[in-house]
Symmetry: C2
Subunit: 353 residues, 2 copies
């Protein structure tokens, strides 16, 4: 029996999975999530990790770590970010063995991670891909989060992403910076159809993708968990007000129908953005000789973005499934944290043997 | 002799022009600018106006007002914004006659303005067009500010804009939401060329147009007067760091040459955005039978954005001039404030006669 902590330290949320495993099989899982926007107060990270350690309560033999918070603009470079974040991890968890996930799907010690910090930057998608690879042979995971979308190819149970860094992944379609809550609409569309013509949009932060999906009924107010653009509420009328501002208008100047047309247009653009990345990844996987591919959807946008984009692949040889329904309970709340915990558990067992 | 105050109440800056005129001709001009981001503390507007009134010191017979601050997202609708802003103006300047500029190029009393608040919303470009029309018969003004660009056609000395509201102007190319300092790069480009391929960009607020123009030498650090995306400095190295983050990279992963290529690409996109609006306006003016058109450039981006876009009209029949060099000293610092002041002065003289 190995008790493991998995840490996924993101820019806005720090997630911990506490799992008990026997020979690499998950016994029990507990997940804790702490909202902590690192760009607002990066010095508080040690405190947050300490608090999460207390939450967990039980003993653990090993810690697995992955992160994306190093991209936050409080850090001048990723190196600076990785060094600070791993320093905090060491301060809180230094008493037990700590393993850090590299984007080449290996685990290294804290000391080794600090030798080449870029290798462990933004690697949490690897943990997702690895975990899925434990259950599925050939698949593509489409994880549509609040701000961005990860598209992760797995072949013969192994992560076969072409990109290692976020930059690579942006080039190869494996990272698409569109999401279902926090994306600035001005970054999705440069113009929208209004009254038979095309209006350029304001480049301010006036409305977010959460407004589009709230107006279209894709999400509820409770699911709109991020801060809104104007700091106001998450009623449908609030979202319509923000949508109107995208073209410097208000709800006296534009009707609800006109605003719904704008929302539909932005929604369609998001599907296209995700499809564009997905089709690149899909064709690469096909070129590897895979004939039957499962598409696993994850994240808040799994149904109205990931699934819809996947359906556009338009082939009978793919099967679209909801990842959350295939994995053990609670896991879908923090897939990378669980993944890196299980990797660390297996790593320990291998070392012990 | 009429002494007039002109107020241009913007979302980020409140500008006052104090002018003394005789029969519509400007005698002396003083300009005061107060940085006041209305979205951070709209209740402070009365205090700011009071402070500016004290700055001015001298007596005045009449006040002319125009605004754009009503678009700020602290206000639910433009109506709510206009009502609040004019209420503040009344509180501070209610003792003298106040005239408010409408976007149909007329002046109305505070009471009349409140009857149809949308008519006075975001009308400050009208003051610019009207002022220019006092000096030039047929011209197009391209005013490239920190965040957006106004393209204002003047024929036979009259403003002939097709759009009245910001929404109309976005439809007709008379308002282009791209500027030389504060524009989020993610709203200008959705992908950039990197190492022979195309990388999607992050939709976060990682870098601003000011970073592009600082890196390319179009502006100096002193001219980079808005807050930066990461709250850090305005050295060239700071700007390169922010530019790298646009594609989730840093200055260890991308060379300076690669980042300059990205900057040049964004710069070219901005020129295209402005040209796209300008060509619509230009062709409409040509269709009105005007054969010789002057293009007057204004704002911080007058040389490297407005002028470059105008040159792409590629015709001998246009003359490109710097508006600031043609108007009296200091006026170019606050053209709409001076314009609305002079309009109010003339309006008074007409009434007195």
């Amino acid at each position: 029996m190995v008790n493991v902590l998995g840490l996924d330290i993101g820019g806005a949320n720090t997630k911990v999975a506490y799992i008990r495993t026997l020979e690499g099989v998950i016994g029990s899982v507990e997940v804790f999530v702490e909202y902590f926007p690192v760009w607002k107060n990066f010095k508080g990270l040690v405190g947050v990790l300490g608090k999460l350690r207390e939450f967990v309560g039980g003993d653990f033999d090993v810690v697995g770590v992955t992160m994306t918070a190093e991209l936050s603009d409080v850090y001048r470079t990723k190196r600076e970010g990785v060094e600070h974040i791993l320093g905090c991890v060491f301060e809180v968890f230094g008493g037990v063995p700590v393993f850090v996930l590299r984007s080449d799907v290996s685990l290294v010690s804290l000391e080794e991670a600090l030798v080449s910090p870029l290798g462990v930057a933004s690697a949490n998608w690897v943990a997702t891909g690895w975990l899925v690879g434990q259950y599925f042979e050939d698949c593509i995971v489409i994880d549509v989060g609040s701000t961005s979308t990860s598209i992760i190819p797995v072949v013969k149970g192994k992560v076969v992403a072409q990109g290692v860094t976020d930059l690579d992944k942006l080039l190869y379609g494996e990272l698409v910076y569109t999401g279902c809550l926090r994306t600035n609409l001005a970054a999705i569309v440069q113009a929208v159809p209004i009254r038979g013509a095309v209006a350029g949009v304001s480049s301010e932060l006036f409305a977010l993708s959460g407004d589009v999906h709230l107006v279209l009924g894709n999400i509820t107010g409770e699911q709109y968990t991020c801060e809104t653009a104007d700091g106001k509420g998450v009623m449908r009328s609030d979202a319509l007000t923000r949508l109107a501002r995208l073209v410097c208008a208000d709800t006296e100047m534009l009707t609800e129908d006109e605003l719904i047309q704008v929302a539909k247009y932005v929604y369609e653009k998001q599907i296209q953005q995700i499809f564009s990345g997905l089709s690149k990844v899909y064709n690469r996987v096909k070129d590897m000789g895979v004939t039957k591919i499962s598409i696993l959807t994850a994240g808040l946008g799994k149904d109205f973005l990931a699934k819809v984009a996947a359906e556009r692949l338009g082939t009978d040889s793919i099967l679209i499934m909801d990842l959350g329904k295939l994995l053990p309970d609670k896991v879908s709340l923090a897939v990378p944290a669980v993944g890196v915990a299980l990797m660390a558990a297996k790593h320990c067992e291998v070392i012990e043997k």
